[in-house]
Symmetry: C2
Subunit: 180 residues, 2 copies
């Protein structure tokens, strides 16, 4: 199960790709940040985010995309940008027929640290441990995108089991094909 | 000057196309609503809005797109959807290199009625009058999209003058070409 996690933002949009299934060691495939200049027009920023997300989808072909669910209890200006960046990421995935899951920040924190109120350092430490990295992922603000991907892998055991069954069926079918 | 006005929303996204320049009678070219089912997944709703906006851009080839500027002082859930729909409309226009202008609801109201606090009925009445329509535009909630387009035509006199100069230059050039 390969998941692209997206921590949406207009200025910095964190992206991270993780391979794995619940209960097995996870593997980081890639991590990065799609940046757009704060002084550019909204339209060109959204186009740049679309191009960035498309590149990540092309390169890593994820089966799922997990996007942070946006709330508006925070700073108004930031929230609008976050909602707009998340719309672009969701659109890019949906256009390709890739299922998009939304997870709240507290779901993500609880999934990787056991506490819905964990701080950035705790999340970074756990992401580093869970992905068996030598050092915390860089850029630092991309750790949240990896945490989103991990959260999705762990919170989707039913989907995951279904997918494994389909994969097993395909493998059995392919084996039969080869031996017939 | 042809402007596509977009009143963004996930369930109902109003669209209206108006031709004209400031100080001259305006002409309505088209009006409608892009709808998406409230029970559909966010991703497929954003894809449907993208397809709807693309159709309007293809069919009417506007030179400007005017989108309502989203504020978050209203209902949280609605605002998120509005921000996401507006992001898709802005992205579609920017991808084609069409300039996107954002106007606040009070700017739009003030432009077409003279009051930033006008109600829906007043806006609809003025849009009907300004576009010299026999009856108020239908669907009713598309009147705001037409008002946005009108607002943009009237608030962009500088851009407009520049554009007229370019058009005049082109016409002069074309005439020369023909007589040469």
């Amino acid at each position: 199960m390969r998941v692209l996690g997206v921590d949406p933002g207009l200025t910095r949009c964190g992206v991270g790709v993780v391979d794995g299934v619940a209960g097995r060691p996870l593997t980081m495939i890639g991590v990065g940040v799609v940046r757009t200049p704060a002084d550019a027009e909204l339209g060109s920023r959204l186009v740049a985010i679309e191009q960035g997300i498309e590149q990540w989808l092309d390169e890593h072909q994820p089966e799922f995309v997990a996007v942070e669910r946006v709330f508006s209890q925070h700073n108004v200006r930031t929230v609008m940008g976050t909602a707009q960046a998340s719309a672009v990421a969701t659109l890019c995935a949906a256009r390709r027929g890739i299922p998009v899951a939304l997870h709240t920040p507290s779901e993500v924190k609880a999934a990787v640290t056991g506490s819905g109120r964990a701080d950035k350092a705790q999340i970074s430490a756990m992401v580093t441990r869970l992905l068996r990295l030598d050092a915390p992922p860089k850029p630092a603000d991309a750790a949240d995108a990896l945490a989103l991907a991990i959260c999705h892998i762990w919170r989707a055991p039913a989907q995951n089991r279904l997918q494994q069954a389909v994969a097993a069926h395909r493998t059995a079918y392919a084996s039969k094909g080869r031996t017939a």
